[in-house]
């Protein structure tokens, strides 16, 4: 079970969208550049004036993965071992998200495979973006 999430000012739009089963990523309109994790200012131009939240398609690919056997998070320790993958978004492969790849057997992860967005519910009811394999590597 994932820990609950208490949205803060910086990430509230992300988590509110997740509760609507949408994935939004911070974007600088002036630079036409996504950034994740979000920040108070654009990492390229340094301005906060043109920051917005942009909806993503919910498609990506697996960059690589590890199998977690010794997890520091108490609530996840009963689930060990589990996959933990890095997902690159199709809109911009430089933007990453983590995933437990629900439905993929442990340590049988197809690196490079296509994935699509799904949502899980965390300990306090907050919905959390996850990813499911939909194609071959």
């Amino acid at each position: 079970m994932k820990q609950g999430v208490i949205p803060d000012d910086l990430t509230r739009p992300f988590w509110e969208a997740a509760n609507e089963e949408r994935l939004v990523i911070q974007n600088c309109r002036d630079c036409d550049r996504l950034q994740h994790p979000p920040a108070p200012v654009c990492g390229k131009c340094g301005s906060d004036a043109a920051l917005e939240w942009k909806q993503m398609s919910g498609r990506g690919r697996i960059y690589h993965y590890g199998v977690v056997h010794d997890c520091p998070i108490r609530l996840l320790q009963d689930d060990q071992p589990f996959n933990c993958a890095v997902i690159n978004l199709d809109e911009d492969p430089g933007i990453q998200m983590y995933s437990h790849l629900p439905g993929t057997p442990v340590d049988e992860v197809p690196v490079g495979a296509a994935v699509e967005l799904v949502f899980e519910t965390a300990a306090n009811g907050q919905k959390v973006p996850e990813w499911r394999v939909v194609g071959d590597s």
Binding site: K2, Q3, G4, V5, I6, P7, D8, L10, T11, R12, F14, W15, Q35, H36, P37, P38, Y63, H64, Y65, G66, V67, V68, H69, D70, C71, P72, I73, R74, L75, L76, P81, F82, C84, V86, G94, I95, Q96, M97, Y98, S99, H100, D107, V111, A122, A123, N124, V128
Partner: protein, 441 residues
Amino acid sequence: MSTENAPQSMYRSREGLGVWEHRGKVAAVGIGHGPTSRRWDGEADTSLGAISLIALRRAIEDAGVNPEDIDGLVMDERTTTGAFWPRGQELPWDVINAYNTTDAPLDGITQLSAEWILKNMPELTGNKFTIYGPGCMSNAIVVAAQAIGDGLAHTCLVLKAWHNLPGRYYQSGPNADDAIPGTPALRSLWGAPACYGTAIQFAEYCRKYGKNHDMMAPFISNSRRNGLKFPEGYWAQHRPEEITPEDYKAARWIAKPANLFDNDIPIMCSAAYLFTTAERARHLKQKPVYILGHASSRGQGRSFVPTLDEVEAECASSGRKLLEAAGITVDDVSFENLYDGFPQFHQFHMEGIRYRGVQPGEALDFYQTDISISGPNPVSPSGGNIGSGRSRFWMHTDCIQQIQRRAGERQVTGVEPVIGVSGGPMPTGGNFTCWSATPDY
């Protein structure tokens, strides 16, 4: 008195800056280590502050300077990345009150300020300059070198200490909570251990170059072998256990492809160096070890985990910066002590500087050759964190001791120890130093 972090202008983080303006004008002349332990036992005389006072006084004694002649102190206030005082646990007032205190009750226990040090070392009557090089000893060293070169101090203590508390590292604080704030949740919800990012980079490295995890075994065995010859280190002092290749391959996974021995062991430890000008160094007790140059990496990944491409580009840049600052080529380097905690990124540092001509993707093959202290290509003669525990400073101590020819059983014998390089921690964020037997190499 408030001590500030060193400004970014003290770090050489861009390429093209040329040879360091103070090349050969700053020298290390003293070394001191405190005793190590696995975790703090709650006693005043084994506390973080106590072992740091030991380290500092040993460095002063080693250098043979009068304490009143020391006018600078460079250190790092933060002393852990994963051991935090449990919420609600009573403070150890008997230990706190055994020393001169500051406004922070746990100063000297789970943090260490310059103010605490100066309050508890009354012999440092001449100190006029304190500054933090936050992160690890690698930061403090380059800040101290720059400070002396710039004339901000002429004789300077450089200190880094680490504490560890009862309980498992990283498993207290927010990691034990039922809910966490939204910003750290973007990373933490998936439960990746500290070694995870490096493990991902290593996995991609193996895929790209056709290597495998077992090929790390000679490096790990060599590191522990060297560490067991480091009398100041944790494993040599408490658990003199070698790691055979079979031990390594059989170890339990932490975050596959990183296993137990791909992680260092958190410990209590403290080390101090004494730096001064090359001119003063000539008249002191120990053979001076000169700093030819320093360089810093301030790269960062675009998103959560720096990719292999980002890591390799940044390490190559760091290597070029360090050689440029020192005014040497990599062929001049006698031995390397680049950071190893996590060992799965040591090869990124090593390939970045092209040690012994090793190119990206070749380090694991290089590990299968003679990388011992008696061979022509010593790799991590300090043994690093794998050899002596999590300190991020064994590499620097070893560079100084090797060049002074007082590394004892670790002394390299297959090369003349004239030039050594050390530094880290992360491939995309670290500080690196080039050490030399002579000021004008």
